[in-house]
């Protein structure tokens, strides 16, 4: 059991109202807090460098965040069930490479077919993770740490037997256009990410299975007892994470055009940073898609700000690490604060 979980326990037992309210309250405080932090960064950097505030630059930030956000949406589903998927970077890497190579070999092929291939590959890899975790009873961190390396090695094996690198000139223009097309003046990449976030967010908020994910994450044993098919749900979230990584990989290939076997290495760190900064509890049961997407945007804005302020990109990784730690520390304090407020309110009533 986690210690943060134990901190919450007394409040839960004493007050049923508190039990229902606590996660929701924490999420709301977190999202609001994150927005304030975001505005604060924008304001500070904007004063130093006015071009940071241009519409063009905002579009640039959202573009750089789109792929990360899609992967973070999948990761959120996994983390909500008290699991974690560390293999996302490798899954994005392998689908990006395979999709780009597919288009290189068959330039005349229907665009949709290539996209479906990438998504299907991601889905299969995610299902393998899901099988190992839910039916093999291997802790998610062990299973996906293993597949992180297995999947990455697979990219190297594919690359060793085909080509070391797929270049922009090798693939049809239609594929690259996925990343550059604009619809109503908004880049397609941003729209795709937004649609994914809205669909998954709605599913999580409104569907029965969506609510069950929260139940599984808050108390796996209790969820089992009230008849929730935990194994199936856990399998499904890993499959969904794989599918979204597949989609992200397809877009990765289109956006960066030049793809080799090392692409998206270490992406899992950024994804986990986005999810944790976005207020999704790493021990499951609370957090929202909106939060995770906001988390990704905050990270993207920080990266952009480093660029604009001419600060070395070497700071970026350290900054991500610090962001993860600060977010977890703040979470602990916010949870305690909300809990205390709820308790004192209940005492007054």
């Amino acid at each position: 059991m986690t210690t943060t979980g134990q901190e919450v326990e007394p409040a839960k037992q004493r007050s049923r109202v508190g039990q229902a309210r606590l996660p929701g309250q924490v999420s709301r405080v977190r999202e609001l807090g994150l927005l304030i932090v975001l505005l604060f960064i924008v304001l500070i950097v904007g004063i130093q460098a006015p071009r940071f505030l241009s519409i063009d630059n905002f579009e640039q930030i959202l573009l750089s965040v789109a792929i990360l956000a899609i992967v973070a949406v999948g990761e959120t589903l996994v983390v909500l069930t008290r699991n974690v998927d560390l293999s996302v970077g490798s899954m994005v890497g392998i689908t990006a490479f395979v999709t780009a190579y597919f288009f290189k070999q068959l330039p005349g092929i229907n665009l949709l077919l290539g996209i479906l291939l990438g998504c299907a590959l991601g889905l299969v890899l995610g299902m393998v993770n899901g099988l190992i975790v839910s039916f093999g009873r291997v802790p998610a961190i062990v299973a996906t740490l293993g597949t992180l390396y297995v999947y990455r090695a697979l990219v190297f094996i594919v690359a060793a037997n085909t080509t070391t690198q797929v270049n922009a000139s090798d693939v049809p223009a239609g594929y690259l256009a996925l990343a550059t097309t604009q619809i109503f003046g908004i880049p397609a990449l941003i729209l795709i990410a937004a649609v994914v976030a809205v669909i998954v967010g709605y599913f999580l908020h409104a569907s029965q299975s969506g609510r069950q994910l929260y139940a599984v994450g808050s108390n796996p044993d209790a969820a089992n007892m009230i008849g929730i098919r935990r194994d199936r749900l856990v399998f499904a979230v890993f499959a969904a994470s794989g599918l979204l990584c597949g989609l992200a990989g397809v877009l990765w290939g289109a956006r960066f055009a030049t793809v080799d076997a090392t692409d998206a290495t270490g992406l899992e760190l950024q994804v986990i940073a986005a999810v944790v900064v976005g207020g999704v509890n790493i021990f499951g049961g609370s957090g929202t898609i909106l939060g995770a997407v906001l988390g990704a945007i905050v990270l993207g804005t920080l990266q952009n700000a480093l660029n604009i302020l001419n600060i070395s990109q070497f700071w970026l990784q350290a900054l991500y690490g610090a962001a993860i730690i600060v977010a977890v520390v703040l979470d602990a304090f916010i949870t305690r604060w909300v809990q205390r407020t709820l308790l004192s309110r209940r005492k007054k009533a």
Binding site: V142, L145, I157, A318, V329
Partner: protein
């Protein structure tokens, strides 16, 4: 309890068998496999991982995890390189590098114990933070003009043998760690903490202090591994030992240590270290590149947990059937 013990012993027997199979395959593949030089090569290749696996074993048994070890190694390595390059004596550079490890581990430990935060997330954050700091300190540069007296510690051997100096350090550490984990009160407290933290606290174990010490120990040892790594490659780079945390966690879990704490032994971990070393060596003999070798390590990690789980499940099914058959016969 007895049942656990018998399972554990059989797991270690399985590891011995695996190790023997690896050695047989290796000696069939190459006449040089059993040579002294090859023994030197395969040992020195894994020593940094082996050394870091010792405190990791204790941390996982106590119910926590430290994923930042490879980053601490990298940070210690660049600090060492930078100090040497700027003209400080080697003993000072090594001392400061070890101190950096102590502070890095201490920060992890304080966040985990004082603020009661999950070590999994904290050390993932620390993984990025410390590796990031290594890049901030040295950029994409490398320091490589180390004195031969220092690099000899890395590739030299104990005179008259084929044992690398790092092997001697590892052997000494193993003796100390075995004494602590298996023959001291502190060792039994670690198992108690891993099995039931609350019960351990109520029976008078200062859980926070022990955990803080474990993380500080892990930091110092990772920094020591950084010194050895720097000497062995005569190079201090920010990306030194990138991703090594996987191998460290792999050998610990392959050694039969339970990821949720409370169970495991150093004998198993030491056996697992040599299995991975032999495996890497065999793959090298087969001319398989390092990028693809990680396939084998990743598979080993998953299978080391999946295998026993599936075996247990099958065993349960069989027992149930037998019981069902028995009760139907009675009625």
């Amino acid at each position: 309890m007895k049942r656990h013990k018998s399972l554990l012993i059989s797991w270690e027997a399985l590891l011995v068998l695996l190790l023997l199979i690896g050695v047989v395959i290796g000696s069939v593949l190459s006449p040089y496999f059993l040579s002294g030089f090859n023994f030197y090569a395969l040992t020195s290749n894994i020593m940094e991982i082996a050394i870091m696996a010792l405190p990791m074993t204790l941390i996982i048994i106590a119910g926590e995890i430290d994923l930042s070890v490879a980053s601490v190694l990298g940070l210690a390595s660049v600090v060492l390189g930078l100090l040497w390059e700027s003209g400080h004596p080697m003993w000072l550079a090594i001392g400061v590098a070890l101190l950096v490890g102590l502070v890095a581990g201490g920060l992890n430990g304080l966040l985990v114990t004082k603020l009661a935060l999950p070590s999994l997330v904290i050390t993932i954050g620390a993984l990025a933070l410390y590796r990031g700091l290594a890049y901030v300190v040295l950029g994409d540069q490398a320091v490589s003009d180390f004195p031969s007296s220092f690099t000899n510690l890395g590739f030299g051997t104990i005179p008259g043998t084929e044992i690398p100096w790092s092997g001697l350090i590892f052997a000494i550490l193993v003796v100390i760690f075995v004494a602590v984990l298996h023959f001291s009160r502190l060792g039994r407290q670690l198992y108690a903490m891993g099995n039931n933290k609350e019960a351990a606290r109520f029976s008078g174990v200062n859980v926070s202090r022990v955990k803080l010490m474990l993380f500080m120990l892990s930091g110092v040892i990772a920094a020591l591994a950084g010194v050895i790594f720097t000497a062995r490659f005569s190079s201090a780079r920010p990306d030194n030992a990138l991703g090594f945390e996987l191998a460290v966690v792999t050998v610990v879990l392959l050694g039969g240590v339970n990821i949720f704490g409370g169970r495991g032994s150093l004998l198993g971990v030491v056996l697992a270290i040599f299995i991975v070393a032999v495996l890497q060596d065999v793959l090298n003999l087969l001319n398989i590149s390092g990028d693809i070798q990680s396939l084998a390590i990743g598979l080993l990690l998953v299978l080391s947990v999946l295998g026993p789980n599936l075996a247990r499940r099958i065993q349960v099914v069989i027992t149930h059937r037998r019981l069902a058959a028995g009760s139907s016969m009675q009625s």
